[in-house]
Symmetry: D2
Subunit: 362 residues, 4 copies
C-alpha cells in the first residue's frame, strides 16, 4: 500500500526491475499543463543506465509512452499514465541471488516480509523502480513551471568518498552540472573522483557520497505546519530513494554546532521592499514553510552494496556461505544517476505543496 | 490538512501554544490495549516544561484527560481522544512578536501563508504543539508492547554544541538517560554541557546538537518498499519536529565515506539459527524493511532561535527594526526535551508499520 | 481507522454515547472564516434531544467548546477542535444490552468485530455519535458561505410511514421546515404523522421514512469524475448516518421507470445567458459534477430498532432469550432529528469539493 | 485526485474512452494470491461490448496485459498494473459532441470544471472507464476467495423499465444469470424486456432499471463504524458507476414503510449454534458491520442519455440548438453490462474491509 506519494498531486508507481514494464499514474495534475512524451523522455534520459563507462552497462532505452491524460500536448485533468517497457532485463544474471542473501541487499528483508524467494534482480527494491518517479517528476516540473515559471530545481554531486565539489552553490547551474559525467560541477573534483571510481571498479568495490540540491524562485508560503512541513516531506521523499542514508536541510549537521546568535537568519527588506535574510542557515524553510530564500538540502548515499568480491553471508537455508557475484550490472557509485531522481522527487513535493496552498488562499 | 500522521494507526493533533487546550485523536488502535491516564501522563511528564533550570520556566502540569476510546483500562477500538488544557499561557509576553518577525522564527512564514498576524506564542509552530504527539506516543507504545513485548525505544542526547556523549550505544538504557538532567548518558559530558548551557543562558544565547535513538527487539519484516520505507517514515517524523535539521540512519553521513567492502553488513547465522549481521551500518533497515538488528538513527537540532539579545529584523510593515525580546519562556537548548518527542514519534511509526504488516500476512 | 471523512476539508470525530465527551477536529479549513461557539451551538441545538415529546427524553445541553483553531471569531488555518461533554449519560439503563443482543442493533456485530461486550448505550454505533459531525457541519457551512454566499442547504421530513409531505420543493424553506416539530413542511401531514407517532409510541413501536434535501445556489463544476463523484460522496455521507437505508439522487428510483426521451434534461440558455435545464431529473449533477441546477437527493431511514415490546433474541452465550427493554431513551422516529445531520454532512461534502476544485483552477 | 478507491486494498484507474489505453494499478494486495491474465480476462469478457445485438456494437477485445506484481501465477506483494489497449475508438463519431452539449451528458459539466472542450467520446465520464475497475475486481475476487473461499458475489438485472425479475433471491445463481442475454434470472421477464428493448432501440430510445446484488458466505465483523460503514462504502462504490441513481441496502426504500416491530430482524441460534436472523431486512449489515447473513443491496440506473432522436440543447457558445446524434455506439440499456461492474466494485469493497479487519484482530 506504499506505492503512492503526495496528497493532492499524487503519484502511484509500479514495476519490477526484471518484469515486463515500469511506470506511473499521476493523479491530481490540473488541466492545461503542457505535456508530451518528449518532455518526459528528456527526464528519463538523464536517469537511464549506460550513459558512460562508470554507470551500469544495462542497455535500456527507457522509452516512455503516455497512455492517458494528455490531448494535443496538454493535460486534461484526468490521470496521466506513463509506461516504460523493460527490454534488457536479464533475470538469469541474478539467479544466484535467489538462494543467497546478498550482504546489505534487500533480498533478506523481502524474504521475511513477503515470504517470497528474493525476486530476480531486486524487484521493487532495485533502483530501477525510480523510473516511474522520474517520469512523474517531468509532469510535476511542467505543472510547477506553469504556475511559477521562475522556479528551478538543481541537484549535483557534492561529494564522492572524500572528494568534494568546491564550486560555491551560487555558481552552480544545471548546464555546468550536466557537463560532468559525474554531475559534479567542479572539474578538478570530477577528475579526482573519476580516477577513484576506476580504481574502485577494478577492485570490485564501490563508493558513496552526498548530493546537494537547491530550489530557486520558490515563493514564500509553501509547506504545512506540523507533520507535513516542507522539509519533512522532502526528507521522506529523499530517504525513500534506494541507498540514501541521510538528509540535511539548510545548515544541516554543521549548523548544529553553531549558537543561536550565529545561526539565526537576520531578516531585512531590500531596496525593492523584498524581504530576504542575510544568511540562509534555514535553507529557505522556517516553521516548515518556505520563506522565499533559496531552498537547500543535502542527501547522503551509502556505497553501492553489490560488490564484485567474495563475501561471507547466508542462504535461504540459514547456512553460512560465501557469496561471489560475477554477473549483474551495477554502478560503482549511484550518485550521478541519483541526481535526476532527487530533482524529480523535489518537483513532485513542490507540485503537491503548490496545490495545497491553493486550498488556503481565497 | 497536515495535522494527521500515519496510515492505519493514525494520529491527528490540535491546539496552539497559547490557546485553550492541546491534544490528539488516535484512530486505528486495536481494541484490548491497556491504556489509562496514568500511562499517558508518564509520557507527558517526560516532555513537560519546568523540569529544571535549563528548560523553559513555563509552568504547565500538562495533565491529560482521556475523553473516549477507553473503558476499564483498555482500548475498545473506537477513536481515543486525549485533552491537555493550557494553564500558564501568557500570550501577552509574546505580543512584541505580533508586529516584529523574529529571526529564524515561523512568524514571517505563517504571515505569508495564512495572511494572519503571527499568533501569540507561535501557534502551531511552537514546540508546545508536540504535546499531542507525545500523548499519542503513549498509546502507540502500549499497542506495540502488546504485540511485541520486547521492543524498546530509547533516545538520548548524543551531542550538544561540540560536547559528545562517549558511552557506547550498547550500554545506554532509559534508566541511565533519565539520570541526566540533559538526558545525556555520559556523566562527564553532562557536566560539561551544563556549564556550557549556563554560560550560554547568561549570554542570552542558545545551542543545538544531535539526539541518538535506537529500537531494540523489533522483528524483521516491518516497513514498506518504495515510498513508505521505514527510514523514510522516520525521516518525515523526525524532520516534522520543530527545530530539527538532519536525519541519519545507521552509519549515516559517516557511512558515505566508506567503500562498499567496508560498509556491507555481513550476514551470519548464530548458534541459535538466528540471522544477524556482523556490523550494523544499515541501522537495522535494508530496502526500507527492518532486518531484526537494532534500528538506529540520529536527529540534528538547530540552536533555539529565541535568543535574548538584540537582533536586526523587519516588522509587518517591512521596515528594518531592532528586535530585543526580554520576556517569553524558552529553553536554551531543546534537545533534552526533544528526547521524549523523538521516542513518541518512533513508537507511532512502529505502530503504523506493525498494523500494515498484518495486512500482508495470511 | 474510519473516523475521518473528507480529503482536503477533513473531519475526524470521537466519543461514545455514554462516555465522557464527544467532538471533532476539523482540519483543512482555510483561515479567516467566521467561527464562534454560538455559530456551532446553533447547529447543535437543532440536533439535540429533548426538543419535544416525540424525541428522546435524554437531557443534554450539548454545549460546545471550541478548543483550538479560532482567534477573535475567525479561523486561523490550524485544526479546529470542538468538545461536547456528556452530562445525562445513563449507562445503567442499557445494562440489559450487555448480555442480550438487541434485534437489529449493532451490539452483536460490535461483539464479533471487536470482541468486546456491547458497550453501554451503543458506543460509537449510537446516533449520539453524530454530535461531532453536526459541530463540524457548522464549520463547513461557514466556509462554504464565505466562498459562495448564496449556497443554501435545506433538508426536511418528506415522508414518515406512509404519510408524505405534499408541499412542492420550490416552496420549502428552512423557516417553514423549522415550524413543524417533525420538520415536515406540510402542516396537514405533520398533524397526521404526529397522531401516528403518538399511537406508535403508546404501542412501544416505531416508524421510518424519507428525508428530502436540496442545495441551491451551488456553482457548476463541483465534484470529481470516477470514484469521487458528487453523488458518490453524498451517498457515502448519507449511508454512514445511523439507520439510513437508501439514497436517491434527482429522479432517483422513480426515474428508472422512465425512458431516455422522458428522462433527459434539456439544456437551454435563459434570457440572462445562464445555462439551465428544463427538467432536473439529474438532481443537479451530471457525470458526477454539479451543473448549476438545484442539487436534490433523498435518504430513507428504517424504523428505530429499539422498541418497547418483548422480542425473541439471543444473549452473549448464544442462548435464545426474550428481550423486553423497559428503560433507555429513544425517539419513536429518528427523521426529525436526522434532518440537521443530513444538512451537516451535506455542508461537509460541499466544503471538501469546493477546496478540491480550487486545485483544478488556475 | 479522485481516481483512487480503497484504503488498504487500493485501486487507481486511468484511461479515456477514446484514448490509447485504459487500466489500473492495484496496490495493497497481499502476496501469494493466484493471478493470471486469464483470470482477469474472464472478468473483462463479462463487461466487454458487442456481446449481443442489444449492447453497444463497439468492437473491443478488451485484452488485458499484466505488467507487474505477478510472478509464476501469484501476486508478490508489489503493485499490480493491468493494461487494456483501445482498438476500436472512433473519436470522429463523437465530434458533434465537441460543439454541442448533449442533454444529460457530462460534456457540459466537464467543460465548466476543466475548461476543456468536451472530450471525444466522453473521456473519463464514459462507462468505458469502468474497464479498469473490472480488471481490479478480478484481483480483489482472487484475494477474497483466498481468504474466505465460500464468499460469493452475484448481481443480476432485477428490473428494466417496469418489467421485474420474479425469481426469488435464494434461487438466483451466477449460472442462471449468465444464461440470460440481459442477465435477468427470469426467462419470461427476459423475453418481455428483450421485446421492449428492440422496440425502444427502433425508436432511438432507451430504458433504465434496477440491479440486485447479494454476497453469500461473508463472515460477520466486516465494516467499520461511523464513516466507513460497509453500506456507506458500497453506496459510494455504486453511485460512482456511471448512470447510477439510487442505492438501497436490505429492505431499502420498501423497509421505510414498516414499523419497528415488523422490521426488526429477530436473532436466533440455530441447531449448529450459528447465530442467524429470521428475516433479513438489515441486508446482512448492522451498525455498518456484516452480521453473517447474506448481504443484499440494489442499485438503480437511469435510462441511457444518448438517444437517437432530435433534442433541443445548447452549444459551447451558449446558443440554443437542435441536437440529433446519428452516430456513436451505445447500449439501449446499460443494466446487463453494469452487472459485472457492480460485482467488481463489491469484491473491491470486500477486499479492503477484510484487510482492515486484520488490523483489528490480534
Amino acid at each position: 500500500m506504499s506505492n503512492t506519494f503526495g496528497h493532492i498531486f499524487k503519484i502511484t508507481t509500479f514495476g519490477e526491475s526484471h518484469g515486463k514494464a515500469l511506470g506511473c499514474i499521476v493523479d491530481g495534475c490540473p488541466p492545461h499543463i503542457p505535456l508530451s512524451e518528449e518532455l518526459v523522455q528528456e527526464f528519463l534520459n538523464k536517469r537511464k543506465p549506460g550513459q558512460h563507462d562508470l554507470t551500469s552497462p544495462r542497455q535500456e532505452l527507457d522509452q516512455c509512452e503516455i497512455l492517458s491524460g494528455v490531448q494535443k500536448g496538454k493535460t486534461i485533468g484526468s490521470p496521466i499514465a506513463i509506461l516504460i517497457r523493460n527490454h534488457d532485463q536479464k533475470p538469469k544474471d541474478y539467479e544466484e541471488f535467489t538462494e543467497i542473501f546478498g550482504p546489505s541487499h534487500a533480498d533478506f528483508t523481502y524474504n521475511i516480509k513477503y515470504k517470497i524467494t528474493p525476486q530476480t534482480g531486486g524487484g521493487r527494491s532495485s533502483a530501477r523502480e525510480t523510473v516511474g518517479r522520474v517520469a512523474a517528476g517531468a509532469v510535476a516540473k511542467s505543472f510547477v513551471k506553469s504556475t511559477f515559471p521562475h522556479v528551478n530545481v538543481c541537484a549535483w554531486t557534492q561529494r564522492i568518498a572524500s572528494v568534494s565539489n568546491e564550486v560555491p552553490m551560487e555558481n552552480i547551474t544545471t548546464e555546468i552540472v550536466e557537463k560532468s559525467p559525474l554531475r559534479c560541477p567542479d572539474e578538478t573534483a570530477t577528475k579526482h573522483i573519476q580516477n577513484l571510481l576506476y580504481q574502485l571498479k577494478q577492485d570490485g568495490n564501490t563508493a558513496g557520497g552526498v548530493i546537494g540540491c537547491y530550489v530557486l524562485g520558490l515563493p514564500a508560503g509553501l509547506g504545512d505546519p506540523v507533520f507535513d512541513k516542507l522539509e519533512a516531506q522532502l526528507a521522506k521523499a529523499m530517504l525513500s530513494i534506494p541507498a540514501s542514508k541521510s538528509f540535511e536541510v539548510g545548515s544541516g549537521l554543521q549548523g548544529t554546532f553553531l549558537t543561536g546568535k550565529e545561526h539565526n537568519d537576520i531578516f531585512y527588506s531590500d531596496k525593492d521592499q523584498k524581504i530576504k535574510t542575510k544568511t540562509n542557515h534555514s535553507g529557505g524553510i522556517q516553521g516548515g514553510i518556505s520563506n522565499g530564500m533559496p531552498l537547500f538540502f543535502q542527501v547522503g548515499f551509502k556505497p553501492v552494496s553489490t560488490i564484485f568480491s567474495p563475501q561471507h553471508t547466508i542462504n535461504s537455508e540459514k547456512e553460512n556461505v560465501v557469496f561471489s557475484p560475477t554477473k549483474g550490472r551495477h554502478d560503482p557509485c549511484v550518485l550521478p544517476r541519483a541526481v535526476p531522481i532527487i530533482e524529480a522527487m523535489t518537483w513532485i513535493v513542490l507540485a503537491d505543496h503548490i496545490l495545497r496552498q491553493k486550498c488556503i488562499e481565497s
